[in-house]
Symmetry: C2
């Protein structure tokens, strides 16, 4: 048995080889950029009007003859003479010979043209080529998480495809003779299986698309075979149940049989003590406790960081925050506790029913309150470290 | 022109009719539950062993004969006699006549059976029927956001389908002759269109699946027609560009033509001043500024709350947080400013390049610093309200 600190140290020091793929920008939401992006064009790529108004060659004169019109998207080349003006709109190309745009509010129209009431400085309201971005500038760096703004920015530079760190394929293997799928009346002695859909949703929320569910009965042969198949599919394998020490828990033996090497087994924590983490070449395996809330706790604290590391995140743990405990708490277990809590405005309350088989408390919690193994008494108003479950999906 | 406060008041008081649909639980991630859930079964539904050990009829005797075995998932009915024991495993059915489970660590085996070294209290390690949940109990309430824990919990109750508030279908209409799709060399006078993919990603991140992109050239006829088609598809319509007062901005006229009624137009803010919000029966229309960062700001502050209200969220604004400003700031505009910032550990810095056409600053920001229209001078270390962009995807 190791401590939570030791287990997290193993997670932190586990080296993971990244996989890079090229994707269309419209398929890149949530991925981590695997390359620096250099601007392929200037922005703007032509001299652009910043206003609706009139383009002129700047002079001391106030009266100009309006010869043409240039609106956004027009490609035509207009050559302007002194004392001529071109009606122009925001975003439109400024004629090469013009150097200034007078905003329409500072102009009065008359029969032959316009009179400028308030002459701006020479060069006003003309955005020079490359004002925002010069071709060749590094505009996004490797490691950036691709959100709607980053993807829009890439589109604005005309970029269609980019290199991202691929997310892992994940196998979920559920073991247990007692498990029955929801939707049919419950058989005697059976319970409804919930961990496969729970883990699938947790994986989807993080952005994993390729997930396959496997099931195995409680025999060594079935478990050996199912682990083999699950390893054939996934980069990461999550096993639910079968890792405690009961006579009918074959998972540990079957992992040995499949040459998956143990990195740790059993953590001095509650819930989620019988957690097993191992490795086979570049595949990683977690055997999670069968109890739903234990499995989900282990997922947030240990599995998600490995998924995020694999996917190129440098900041791969769920965010931690400090909050004041609403009421005193005693930890008589000698274990690190992860307690479902609700945090608002810096104050956190520990929710009732923390049993490891009850998921509904998780449904209404937004933090996991972490109480270290060596802390016995916490007074009300003391600060505790909380794992922020709201920081999950981003 | 109205203030930000007035605009938000209109968003808050806009009534939206909800649409409810039945979905499979595996398709319900991120939706809001539209019904209270009553447990259809007891949990556990049979008397369950909490330990690996031996089931007995409690007595003063220490020696018991082992007659049978009961493992998790076994349905058979075992009738136990006094001084008999059944080998039993965690989660397995306790025989009807047994009342106590002795954990295996407190038992020694011998040729004829077992000797109990430490006798527990009568009834120990037997989970009674309905210990966690009684059939008929209200276990989840209408308004719960369905995350992996809630969905797992429903699966554990055997529930396959639930009623959720449907999310809207969204049309995105992009206007502008100057706009060109990424992937081909840029034509003279053109710019790469980025708002459609940016808005699509922002919608997808929130969980909207049904999104259709429409495009229109800058003519009244084309705009009329495109708005009609976009309204035929979507419950909510986002229009990008064409809402300022240039001679070639036809959107406002075309919205009138399509009988969309204005709820507000123009907000005393920067960026995103020329924002238009309107309604046609139960359809809502936002005409967003064409500049990408302005459009995205308007999306976070006004569009997302309407999408969330539509989808049944009671808490529909992005979370606000208070942070200390890193350095002094002057607001000489008389407008409410939404400034891209980066907040860490309660301190926030305003990022450089706040221009409304630049999206890359958004890609690295995690908050929008809000500076009210009537605040001119902010000292370093003063508290400001920030819109938390990290609270988005949940």
């Amino acid at each position: 048995m190791i401590s939570v600190q030791q287990a997290l140290h193993i997670i932190d020091t586990t080296k993971i080889v990244h996989h890079i793929k090229k994707v269309k920008i419209s398929k890149s939401l949530g991925f981590i950029l695997a390359e620096d992006i250099l601007a392929p064009i200037n922005m703007p790529s032509f001299r652009q009007s910043a206003m609706d108004g009139y383009a002129i060659i700047w002079s001391d004169n106030t009266d100009y003859k309006v010869t043409e019109e240039s609106k956004a998207g027009d490609a035509k080349h207009i050559t302007l003479q002194p004392l001529e003006a071109v009606r122009i709109f925001t975003g439109a190309k400024v004629p090469d010979t013009a150097d200034t745009v007078v905003m329409q509010e500072h102009v009065s129209k008359h029969a032959d043209g316009i009179r400028i009431i308030k002459m701006p400085r020479q060069g006003a309201n003309v955005r020079p080529v490359g004002e925002q971005v010069h071709a060749g500038d590094k505009v996004l760096t490797e490691g950036t998480r691709l959100n709607e703004a980053a993807i829009g920015f890439l589109a604005g530079l005309g970029i269609s495809k980019i290199a991202v760190y691929n997310t892992p394929k994940v196998s979920v293997l559920v073991t247990g003779n007692e498990l029955q799928t929801h939707g049919k009346p419950l058989k005697d002695g059976a319970i409804y299986e919930s961990n496969s859909v729970m883990l699938k949703m947790a994986l989807q929320r993080f952005g994993i698309k390729k997930i396959k569910i496997f099931k195995a009965k409680d025999t060594l042969k079935a478990t050996n075979k199912a682990i083999k198949k699950a390893l054939d599919y996934g980069d990461i394998l999550l096993i639910s149940g079968g890792i405690s020490v009961g006579d009918y828990d074959f998972v540990k033996e079957a992992l040995d049989y499949n040459h998956v090497n143990e990195l740790f087994y059993k953590i001095n924590q509650k819930p989620g003590k019988p957690l097993w983490f191992g490795k086979k070449d570049q595949q990683f395996v977690f055997a999670l406790p069968g109890n739903p809330a234990s499995a989900l706790t282990a997922f947030y604290v240990y599995v998600l960081p490995i998924l995020k590391k694999y996917s190129g995140f440098s900041d791969y743990h769920l965010p931690r925050l400090q909050a004041k405990l609403n009421s005193a708490f005693k930890n008589t277990t000698g274990k690190t506790l992860f307690l479902k809590g609700y945090c608002k405005d810096g104050n956190v309350g520990i929710l009732p029913s923390q049993q490891s088989s009850m998921l509904n408390t998780f449904a209404t919690s937004n933090v996991l309150v972490t109480i270290p193994e060596d802390v016995e008494n916490l007074e009300a108003q003391e600060h505790v470290t909380c794992i922020n479950l709201d920081g999950y999906g981003n």
